[in-house]
Amino acid sequence: MATEHRDKMIVVGLGEMAVSDRPGETLIAHALGSCLGVTLFDPVMKIGGMIHCMLPLSQIDGEKARAKPCAFVDTGLPRLIEEMFRRGCRKKDLIARAAGAGRSADQANHFRIGERNHAVFRKIMWKNGMFIHAEDIGGDQPRTLRLEIATGRVLVQSPGQEREL
């Protein structure tokens, strides 16, 4: 069960990331449709991070990528990883989970943004030699992603259900 009635909710909005080492906080990303939410948690340092990316590749909009690098998986995810390392986390301890990257309702998923977000995520994880512990990806339903800093628990909510990743 979510501890939101006690925890302070830190909302990770579109194109944002957050990192916390405060046990009383929960990071949360709402309405992940084709967007991708990624969590990294270090159970040794008790530090957790989350990013909420919208698009896969930054090359389509260099200006936006400079202004809001976390909007793109290829520029945002490495930033999250670097920040975790900067705070003392070790790669081998990081537990990575992801949710979202679903089908877009518009244009009958013509641009396959969700799938591409997922593909770039997997590429970066592969290139960094980082294992993906769990994913809740694809489909048509929007998701809410939560990371509880006190416990490292990751919860994914979609209409009618909630499960721990």
Partner: protein, 128 residues
Amino acid sequence: MAYNILIVDDSLMARTFIARALEMAGLSLSQLHQATNGQEALDLLQREWVDLVLTDINMPDMNGDELVRRMRATDLLKSIPVVIVSTDCSERRMAEMTAAGVQGYLTKPVTPEDLKATVERLLGKGSQ
């Protein structure tokens, strides 16, 4: 306990990919061996202790079917678990290989998650 795994595939990049995926999966690995076909695999199995074989099916000189058959017919090798890692997704092929005595069947492209789940199912989590 750390494990010795043998990867059998005629594709250099397939072996490279699988080896990297196994390392990323955080499995307790002692040795990762590689062979390019069934015959090379059999030769290696005669001289090295191996806990698990991951093998493709279509290979020159000796394919995966024959490798499995020969392993099952050899006292020293018959209890080593074998997992197929193949591009062949057909249900018939999977059924054939299961009947031939393999313990798992993964279709390419495999992921580190697939490999971790399969190796831990067959060998346990091991320890460093």
